[in-house]
């Protein structure tokens, strides 16, 4: 492969370079564009706002999906994990339980979703797409039944509000707690996925499931772990979400699903084999967040933002896939 004609290979490598770094190039171009178009874009206050409001929660969900997609699967039920964690957390606080109990209960609820997915996928041999689609439907019904058709629960004052503030409105060395949570989780998932034996197993299952099985990897066990971790990470987002908006709004978690899938796959364009990575995913999340924020600042309304994001994701994917195809 590397022994090709010289004049040809330089052209190919330029294309390969463009394909590999198309996300980074797009990212830089977009930052420059918005910096010129809007004076407020590059101000610390705005960037801080983007980080806290648009990046943290989506990024944590996307970290979970990065693990699942690395293993060759998908989790369509991340929104349910976000929602049930949020629901149990808010209901426990409304019942007067402590913040710690609320967080534990919320994560426990997400854990149940993860275990359910794991059982369906590893014991009943259902493909991840269909298993998590089924769980998504069931999760939506469960929430509607538990909230008499989707009534939100607001806890904007009193005891619960203080507990929410303790999570969402505190800071360590000037860094808001949710951002610290993201940093810790991102480092943990990076180490787990790219520097640990478990990570090797996950990558192997994603690349060659049959070979992984024959190599003695306990595929069901590792795969169960993958889905439990993904659900738990989504649960963390659910708790941060409730603490930030001081309420539980049924069926709101689904909004993360498509963006998180998009961010993870944008991240895969960084690697030649199209493998998801934590760095790539975070870059994908940042790209989506900056475009949303930038379009808002230059005066596009909410509706046009969606068109803008769709077109942008399309162009990034087209550049990456198209150029790589041309390079081969």
């Amino acid at each position: 492969m590397s022994v090709s004609a010289n004049d040809n290979s330089t052209k190919v490598s330029v294309r390969g370079f463009l394909a590999k770094y198309s996300v980074l190039i797009a990212f830089a171009a977009i930052v420059v564009f918005f910096a010129v178009a809007s004076p407020t874009f590059l101000t610390p206050a705005n960037l801080f706002n983007v980080l806290v409001n648009n990046v943290v929660m989506l990024a944590i969900v996307a970290l979970g999906l990065t693990i699942v997609i690395s293993s060759g699967g998908i989790d369509l039920s991340v929104g349910v994990s976000v929602d049930v964690a949020s629901m149990v957390f808010v209901m426990l606080l409304a019942g007067g339980y402590s913040g710690v109990a609320g967080v534990a209960g919320g994560l426990g609820a997400a854990l149940i979703v993860g275990i359910l997915n794991a059982i369906l996928i590893t014991r009943l041999n259902i493909s991840p797409f269909l298993a998590t689609l089924g769980v998504l439907f069931i999760g939506q019904s469960t929430q509607q039944l538990a909230t008499s058709g989707g009534q939100p629960i607001y806890l904007t004052s009193g005891y619960a509000s203080d507990q929410f503030n303790a999570i969402a409105r505190t800071a360590l060395f000037g860094v808001p707690t949710p951002v610290i949570v993201l940093i810790v989780l991102a480092i943990a998932v990076h180490v787990l996925l790219h520097r640990s034996v478990f990570g090797r197993y996950v990558q192997a299952m994603g690349a060659q499931p049959g070979v992984a099985w024959y190599s003695g990897i306990r595929v069901p066990r590792e795969l169960s772990m993958v889905h439990v971790l993904c659900a738990l990470l989504a649960g963390v987002t659910g708790i941060l979400l409730s603490a930030t908006v001081k309420s539980y709004v049924p069926l709101s978690g689904n909004a993360f699903l498509l963006d998180a899938i998009g961010a993870t796959f944008i991240g895969t364009t960084l690697s030649r084999e199209r493998k998801p990575s934590v760095v790539g995913t975070l870059l994908g999340v940042l790209l989506l967040a900056i475009v949303k924020n930038g379009l808002l600042l230059v005066g596009w309304n909410f509706y046009w933002q969606q068109v803008g994001i769709g077109v942008l994701v399309f162009l990034v994917l087209a550049a990456s896939f198209g150029l790589r195809r041309a390079a081969h």
């Binding site: 369906l120 999760g139 039944l145 499931p209 049959g210 498509l258 509706y303 046009w304 769709g310 077109v311």
Partner: protein, 343 residues
């Protein structure tokens, strides 16, 4: 996990045993398939006995009417899955189909409210739907983007364009065509129900009754073999995405007629469309997506919602039961297929 599929070296003495095994498995698959269908039948029988008015002609036609929109969309999705292969992460899938319907409905209703005639408005809606389908085809076939990703990006574009066009409001619409679809009837069956019947007949005839349809299955089932046999794989795959866009446009006209308006939130149909297309595989002998199977599962989903309504069960149960059924059917199916590579 497909493990035994990777064992090519089956000894000669094992051949008989293997044949017996495969016959046994085939029998098992038959039992399972009949079992799944029997479960469907049992649910229907329960409704027939306990749900008041379930079997009345009026009610059944009502179900067919309600199923028309989901059905037309599910045909588009089924075509894409047939042509692209049924591997859900790498195979054919059109996530943009429901958003595309919303966009077409917005275009149709907006043009009507601006005073343009039915002909122009319908043509415009169909052109928009097929253009979105062509964009998907360009992304998947031309640029080689994974269908899941390409159609996800197009979903955002289509949904955003619908919002910019309608400003997230309800656009009321009325026209002779809509009037006909709402109140017209022939042989005692309403026009909306006829729309589903006729559309189903055409789609089933084309996909299951022509050489074209057979080639489409070949392209989806084994692209390399299809290419070696001289079929233009890109053409067939592109066709399915454009057809899917066309189906979205047809469904948009039905939905505007049903609601007398284009309304936001059509994207929510996506999951039901996927469920219908995937659930339909259980009605086929080799567990592949078929148009007939899709029709049956669409009607089944419609009857399920209707039966619950008649029994006064909260509609919040419908999604959950639908989800549980998908899991049940797929678990049984994968059990029946055993280790024959059902990953």
């Amino acid at each position: 996990m497909s493990a035994t599929a990777l064992h090519p070296e089956v000894g000669v003495s094992d051949e008989k045993q293997a044949a017996a095994k495969s016959a046994g498995r085939r029998f098992g698959a038959l039992v399972v398939r009949l079992g799944a269908i029997a479960a469907f039948a049992a649910i229907m029988a329960y409704f027939v006995i306990f749900a008041p008015g379930f079997t009345s002609t009026f009610n059944l036609i009502n179900v067919v009417e309600q199923s028309a929109i989901l059905g037309v969309l599910a045909y588009g999705m089924t075509a894409v899955i047939i042509g692209g292969g049924s591997d859900v992460t790498e195979g054919g899938i059109d996530l943009s189909i429901a958003a595309n319907m919303g966009l077409c409905a917005a275009v149709y209703a907006t043009l009507l409210s601006m005073g343009y005639g039915d002909l122009l408005s319908v043509l415009a809606a169909i052109a928009v739907g097929m253009a979105v389908g062509a964009l998907n085809a360009l992304a998947v076939v031309g640029l080689g983007i994974l269908p899941l990703l390409a159609t996800l990006a197009v979903l955002n574009v289509a949904a955003g364009m619908e919002l910019t066009l309608t400003q997230n409001t309800v656009v009321g619409a009325s026209s002779p065509l809509l009037g006909l679809l709402v109140s017209g009837s022939f042989l005692g069956i309403s026009a909306l129900a006829w729309a589903l019947i006729v559309f189903s007949a055409i789609v089933i005839a084309v996909i299951h009754g022509t050489a074209f349809g057979l080639r489409l299955y070949a392209v989806g089932g084994h692209p390399e073999a299809a290419r070696a046999a001289g079929l233009s794989v890109p053409f067939y795959v592109s066709f399915t995405y454009v057809l899917s866009g066309f189906c979205a446009a047809v469904a948009s006209i039905l939905t505007v007629s049903r609601l007398s308006a284009s309304t936001p939130g059509s994207g929510e149909l996506l999951l039901s469309v996927l469920a219908a297309a995937l659930l339909g595989t259980v009605f086929s002998r080799r567990f592949v997506p078929t148009m007939g199977g899709t029709l049956l599962s669409v009607l089944f989903i419609g009857l399920l919602a209707n039966g619950f309504q008649l029994l006064n069960v909260s509609s919040y149960w419908v999604n959950g039961v639908q989800g549980a059924l998908i899991l049940l059917v797929v678990a049984i199916t994968s059990f029946a297929r055993g280790s024959e590579g059902s990953r």
